[in-house]
Symmetry: D2
Subunit: 346 residues, 4 copies
Amino acid sequence: MLRVGIVGASGYTGAELMRIIWNHPGMAVSMVTANQYRGTAIESLYPSLGGFYEGEFEVYDPVEIEKRCDVIFLGLPHGESMKVVPEIFDMGKKIVDLSADFRLKDPGMYEQWYGLRHECPGFLQSAVYGLTEINRDLVVSAAIVANPGCYPTAVLLGLLPLVNGGFAEGVVVIDAKSGVSGAGRKPTLETHLPQCAESVTPYSVSGHRHLPEMTSMLERGSSENRVGIVFIPHLVPMSRGILCTMYVPVNKRLKRGDVLDLYEAEYGEELFIGLLEGGKYPATKAVLGSNRCHIGIEVSGTEDMVVVMTAIDNLVKGAAGQAVQNMNLMCGLPEETGLCGPGIFP
Amino acid sequence: MLRVGIVGASGYTGAELMRIIWNHPGMAVSMVTANQYRGTAIESLYPSLGGFYEGEFEVYDPVEIEKRCDVIFLGLPHGESMKVVPEIFDMGKKIVDLSADFRLKDPGMYEQWYGLRHECPGFLQSAVYGLTEINRDLVVSAAIVANPGCYPTAVLLGLLPLVNGGFAEGVVVIDAKSGVSGAGRKPTLETHLPQCAESVTPYSVSGHRHLPEMTSMLERGSSENRVGIVFIPHLVPMSRGILCTMYVPVNKRLKRGDVLDLYEAEYGEELFIGLLEGGKYPATKAVLGSNRCHIGIEVSGTEDMVVVMTAIDNLVKGAAGQAVQNMNLMCGLPEETGLCGPGIFP
Amino acid sequence: MLRVGIVGASGYTGAELMRIIWNHPGMAVSMVTANQYRGTAIESLYPSLGGFYEGEFEVYDPVEIEKRCDVIFLGLPHGESMKVVPEIFDMGKKIVDLSADFRLKDPGMYEQWYGLRHECPGFLQSAVYGLTEINRDLVVSAAIVANPGCYPTAVLLGLLPLVNGGFAEGVVVIDAKSGVSGAGRKPTLETHLPQCAESVTPYSVSGHRHLPEMTSMLERGSSENRVGIVFIPHLVPMSRGILCTMYVPVNKRLKRGDVLDLYEAEYGEELFIGLLEGGKYPATKAVLGSNRCHIGIEVSGTEDMVVVMTAIDNLVKGAAGQAVQNMNLMCGLPEETGLCGPGIFP
Amino acid sequence: MLRVGIVGASGYTGAELMRIIWNHPGMAVSMVTANQYRGTAIESLYPSLGGFYEGEFEVYDPVEIEKRCDVIFLGLPHGESMKVVPEIFDMGKKIVDLSADFRLKDPGMYEQWYGLRHECPGFLQSAVYGLTEINRDLVVSAAIVANPGCYPTAVLLGLLPLVNGGFAEGVVVIDAKSGVSGAGRKPTLETHLPQCAESVTPYSVSGHRHLPEMTSMLERGSSENRVGIVFIPHLVPMSRGILCTMYVPVNKRLKRGDVLDLYEAEYGEELFIGLLEGGKYPATKAVLGSNRCHIGIEVSGTEDMVVVMTAIDNLVKGAAGQAVQNMNLMCGLPEETGLCGPGIFP
């Protein structure tokens, strides 16, 4: 039984890690830290964990981490993870970092988008970008995994087969819709129920921080840089879920069957990806609470544009679920351990 | 005081017409028909109208219509409006039809999209497409106005300045999000709260009936047919509101100020259009219950794509509100009569 | 045209006052203050008011108030209203205060529940408790009206006929359900959409501040003090609306018709009260955006308990709407001016 | 591995049974029937089950049931279960029936409330009412378990300690709030999102079918019949969850600690019951997707009324979860098998 430490556990990804790991036959949470909530009962912040987790949030203490934990998940905000990764790495413990600190390879790009100088750029090259279905081989042998953002997960799982297959060409429009938990646990006017109930609205229109993470992965796939993206996220009045509708111009006429073949070749054996049949489209509710990504495909009448639609639960496949999936691989466990099971419906 | 008849009044547009007209100083509802609910108290279907409308839904009867009404709104489903328009027209009464029956000029296209042979194609040419801000001059002298669909209203108000200005070129992606009332009052599994709460999902991906209505208006603006559209609507867990995010490739580099100038030239004097300043984006909640359309504009970093975002209340500017706006013009009243006032917030 | 000043206008009641007064033929907002938002455009906080109110929030300044306003609404938090009421009163301007500062007659009780010493207890006796339907005669001649809280409005309109009629006896259970806007505009964890969506929960179980306001009015009705109340409010995942379900033990067997007669005698002529027929129950949606209170009545099989159910919009009849209703009376205008019209549905 | 048949599996309880059993180490679903959906892929009705259940709904066929199933859950509507119970019983298979058909001991009472003559009244006495925490000993040896209704589960778990302890006396007011999935999968106007979003409303005020189920259990506890109940359910705009607020007059002064002692004596060892500490109140979200019942307790200032608040997920502890809990006991498995794990939050 692996003893799991969650550093920065008071946010929604921390809570979701606790929920998932509770049912994991090979892991058990042994320590949760949250400096701000030091001494507070877990149940007090998350009544849903009452009866399951009796402990308290502790202050981060490397000595305790070293002694009481085998593997570490970091649920810290960006800027904080990079402060603790070197010392936890030195303990020889495997790390899955859910922040943005190790997702970009280029420290300059990190500084540009996050407004902070990277404190341990030496780790950027060895950290593996944990989009599991795509980077599985690298994840298996990684010491540090940078867990993808929720939007990039939904976007890249949908786009990469077309991009890597060389079919996408031109500007891909990505229209993303997210539930409010994507904005985190901190209350703001934008997430205050009376403001956001009965409302849909775009945000970060002029540039969302998840952009470079997406473009760098897409560029890898498209060596000649033939694909550009426009990405606009929207806030939708629900707690969880991301739906991405992606409009992909293609460089040859494709029928739906052609595209489906491509996706089946890529994902046919994947446990956590569901390719929907013709005429069926993903809905966030159909993946609520599950680690699955549903993908629907449609081709425009003129056969020169493919519409790829993906749905994930932003806190599971878009965060804590994929993190556990990665840790399973890093620890030699079957990838799906603790992650199976259908989501909640309705 | 104009005596208003609402034929097919049991649906949400009928109820919304009653709500709006109650506050209209120049109109009063004198008769509401709904064959299915003949004899049912209005309040019984719409408790919100209790205390305001004491009457009952009546069966449609042309003799009564002729005697008791000066002007007519048709809230019937498509296929039904065309059965009554000729006889009401013959009575010399002005008509605003909220169905799709008179929106397309070409009866063949109507048959193709609605699966019905048009029963009075002779009226198609004279019926005016009531997108008020664009067709105001025609509406003023119309006898029959075909009130635009909710999606076309939000789409065309957003796109026409760029298209008519000759800037749009290529495939415009229209990603639309709608509240559930857009699906009407009839309960279905798709609109059953446990199915659609906490869910976002695309629908009608392979072709929505509002498409020909949009393309025919856009073609008029773009004489050389340079603009194509891809349109995907989504169902969002809220009652009212439409948000359209439109990605418009343009044939010359444009800055945000250039685009704004274009829109201000077109809409600067319009009472029901709000152009948002830089960094502000439309939200459906900000127009809830009002006849306004909010428009936000952003330009991509490469300056070759303009993103236009529009928000309307699908039942007001997208249906009953615009219908009253049109009828005001047809009857020589100030266009905004009965329609002013801010929407509900929060 | 009365020039209206709204002091403390940045909260939801301030915004709602602006919405309502915009359509009021005898009032126009001439000044809105909000020290915290001094210099901020109204539209910037409330996009729904864009196109209607071009101005900015100003800092509170008695000289400007005196010069530019005829009547004053106070949307300040409790503790703040009592600081400005004396000086505005001295200007001879009529005041409707929406805070709790003048609702209780007893300064000791105020101090006990609000934890503050009252700064102008001399005004408590002359301030009229503005539950309009009950205190209309007093409101007409009042200089200062203390506008009732949202819960007390829904509770008292429902209970007073039974209590004043001498029928209620024993402990009345009041189970109240409120939308989240009742908690105000300030974001908290409790009002953060991911926390409160898909959730119902009781709060303030051991004593809500609206209790003394309710009990003092009920005691007046029940001279022998035969009625006690237990009041538990609940938070429900919606923006607006209050539903109160009140279980009233009665001292003689009553049939539904008897109770209805009692309520019709009291409210039969009231424009803003709707008594529902047998088998119909109030729903918050049916009064959304309107100044009406819907009342449903049921009698238990044993005929010794009456269940009274009331629904209001907490921001209209529970706040800004009733405030305007009171000011109309204070200024000699027809009570319903600017307040008519059905609410939004669906 | 027990082979599980679900008869009447197309409703929400059927889907929830499939979700739960998928993670159950000792059970596997071997057959699901739904005459209306014969031949329809499970995934087609429940996309959330896609990738987990590949099969189809079959027509009910006793021969197949006998051959392919070891134990049976009945998800049929009332009136249908009693038609198949005798023949499945004769096969010697254990049955948990989720309908109301076997919950009441008295066939006359069944006929009175459900309007149907009971077709196999001989089974009523032997069927065990499966409120597990209360009737555990009987469930262990039962052949047929009548699974409690969702409301009775939330009500009885909250009330029985006080009633059985002899403390409750008089009329208990039960104010219940339910998410919309409690109304089942069939779309109606009442469950149409535009009608019920942003609305709270009471229903079945003059008598809900769950009443006799509650009263018969409470009478058993209170031998002298000292407790009456008034029960009013409300519809709340969310998918899942029941919150019951129960106002219990008591026959001696009790402090919160006294009541808590009573509940701890009863439930202290229960895995699926969470007693909340002072000042904490149950929220439906805290039990979403879990088999737990949270109970909060408060005592009125006068110490003669206890307020008990309970929250459950209506589809889990209120239906499918408790059904599996019962079947575990009937089959000699640890009661909690397949049911552990925290719910979804947020």
